[in-house]
């Protein structure tokens, strides 16, 4: 009997992890369904249209109807396509987009200094950076395997674009890592405790640095748009030039996976911005140490609420940008990345490291 209980105890850890993975996946899928609808509704609202409003009340069930349609359609693989690579590409995109969420801390733990996260990595930021830099493979593989001109051109554009903007994203992340002195996402969030003024976007605890950190936040936001191929940087799938870029030959479930991966990456970028710059799960005002100690569960739930709320606000910003800003020309995109963002973020890294060495109180 005791043997049985012991083995159950050993199983408990892996089972908890599996359960959390299942929960995260389910919540992410459900929220993507509604965020997609929100994206379309915001877009429609800016254009004074109604947007999807037929399926369910206010069109709430639209995403589920689309889901059913994608699943039931026949998978068409072009005759000259490289079959294996053609099918691996969307699966890779979607898997990587989900894998990144393993390191995202979504709420404070009931013990101070901890957080609710599937895997609390010491190199959490680097892990997310690595995973997001792998995202480009799904696009290149899809574009190449389609064996068609438009997808190939789209894939080439996308590869150049994502590699370019990763550089400035990397430097922006470095500024935050320098301020915190740790690459652990939980530590980064905890370093911003206190209220809206201590979030890294404003950095009042490192007073003069707001001049550096707020522009860094803006650079990160714009680079995130480019990294996720969102308008105004959606050149890989610019419909007036490339039909639909790397997605031209895709339909049915593989297309669904591409779409899912794309939106998951957008939400991931919103989450990353929330964690790095907007204080993660910390609300805009401090709850006070005593309250947090006495009511750890209320603290955890309010943390979860604030984290999701901030992601939602950032997602609406993403949707608004899509509706408002016209598409960039390709040379403008490259110029913005290499000639403006890269030098600016490099100078910011110098300033922040100088601050940490000479003025910081670490």
């Amino acid at each position: 009997m005791s043997n049985y209980v012991e083995s159950l105890g050993q199983l408990w850890g892996p089972l908890m992890v599996l359960g959390q993975i299942g929960l995260f996946t389910l919540v992410l899928l459900l929220s993507i369904a509604f965020l997609l609808l929100l994206d379309r509704k915001v877009w429609a609202g800016v254009m004074m249209r109604k947007g999807p409003n037929v399926v369910g009340p206010f069109g709430l069930m639209q995403s589920f109807a689309d889901f059913g349609k994608f699943l039931l359609k026949e998978i068409v693989i072009p005759a000259g396509a490289n079959k294996t690579v053609f099918l691996i590409a969307p699966i890779l995109t979607c898997t990587l987009a989900f894998a990144a969420w393993a390191a995202i801390p979504v709420a404070p733990g009931t013990v101070s200094g901890t957080s609710w996260v599937i895997s609390n990595l010491n190199v959490g930021v680097l892990y997310l950076f690595a995973i997001s830099s792998l995202g480009v493979y799904g696009i290149i593989m899809g574009g190449w395997a389609s064996n068609s001109k438009y997808p190939f051109l789209g894939a080439l554009r996308s590869a150049a674009q994502m590699v370019s903007y990763e550089v400035s994203i990397g430097f922006v992340i470095v500024t935050v890592i320098l301020l915190v002195g740790s690459m652990n996402l939980t530590d980064i969030v905890n370093a911003q405790e206190g209220g809206i003024w201590t979030w890294h976007a404003f950095s009042f605890q490192h007073f003069p640095l707001i001049v550096v950190m707020f522009p860094m936040f803006v650079i990160f936001f714009v680079s995130a748009l480019a990294e996720t191929n969102r308008p105004p940087f959606d050149l890989p799938e610019a419909e007036s030039e490339l039909v639909a870029g790397y997605q031209v030959e895709y339909g049915s479930t593989p297309y669904l996976l591409f779409m899912l991966g794309e939106y998951l990456n957008i939400v991931l970028m919103c989450a990353l911005m929330t964690i790095l710059f907007l204080g993660g799960w910390h609300g805009p005002f401090s709850l006070g140490e005593e309250f947090v100690r006495d009511h750890p569960f209320i603290n955890a739930f309010s943390g979860l609420f604030w984290f999701m709320f901030k992601i939602l606000i950032l997602f609406i910003l993403f949707a608004l940008v899509k509706a408002i800003v016209p598409r960039y020309r390709y040379d403008q995109l490259m110029r913005l990345g290499w000639k403006i963002f890269l030098p600016t973020s490099l100078v910011a890294v110098l300033i922040v490291s100088g601050y940490v060495v000479y003025l910081g109180v670490q």
Partner: protein, 197 residues
């Protein structure tokens, strides 16, 4: 559990590395190479060198291999033609193989047992990143900076070799474009009915 994970990942590394040289399609070769890189990162995670693992993924998989793939996809080379006659070099290949195998065996036999049994990925520091930083910026500062300078020279050299000034290329003048005002672009006329401009 760790041993099982090691053998699984190591098997993936070996199979994908073998496939790099066996694949007929060069793009498939690069894709297998990427899998090999990625799985090696998994091996690094297993010994606790998580910082190195992430760097491997970011630098090699995220940047270098993307450029590889980029170039290989766009090259229009007949690889069947290129591969013809490679069998002539088999004695050289065998020699290189023997040298490599001998080095690996030598290292594993002669190498200190301390290194192989009690491997510590972060000696004298809390994390792997900290341990690397502590030696890289103190003990090996000169070598580290020299490596940086050599890379810079290589980069400048590559640019100098490939830079061509072609006067016939049309360029975008961004300053001119952004300083354009509405009054430069068009003017409003108010033609009277039946008169024209």
């Amino acid at each position: 559990m760790a041993v099982f994970a090691f053998y699984l990942i190591a098997a993936v590394v070996l199979v994908s590395a073998l496939s790099v040289i066996m694949a007929r399609n060069p793009v498939h070769s690069v894709l297998w190479l990427i899998l090999a890189f990625f799985s090696s990162a998994g091996l690094l995670v297993l010994i606790g060198a998580e910082f190195l693992a992430m760097l491997l993924v970011v630098v090699y998989v995220g940047a270098v291999a993307v450029l590889f793939l980029f170039v290989v996809m766009m090259l229009d080379v007949d690889f069947v033609e290129l591969k013809r006659g490679t069998l002539r070099y088999w004695p050289f290949a065998v020699l290189v193989g023997i040298v490599f195998a001998a080095e690996i065996v030598l290292a594993s036999v002669v190498g200190t047992s301390e290194m192989t049994t009690n491997f510590d990925a972060s000696p004298g520091a809390e994390t792997n990143a900290e341990a690397i930083g502590q030696v890289m910026y103190t003990q090996y500062l000169l070598l580290f900076q020299m490596a940086g300078v050599i890379l810079l020279v290589a980069m400048v050299g590559a640019i100098v070799l490939t830079l061509r000034h072609r006067p016939e290329t049309k360029r975008q003048n961004i300053a001119k474009q952004t300083s354009r005002r509405r009054s430069d672009a068009y003017e409003l006329k108010d033609p009277k009915p039946g008169q024209g401009i």
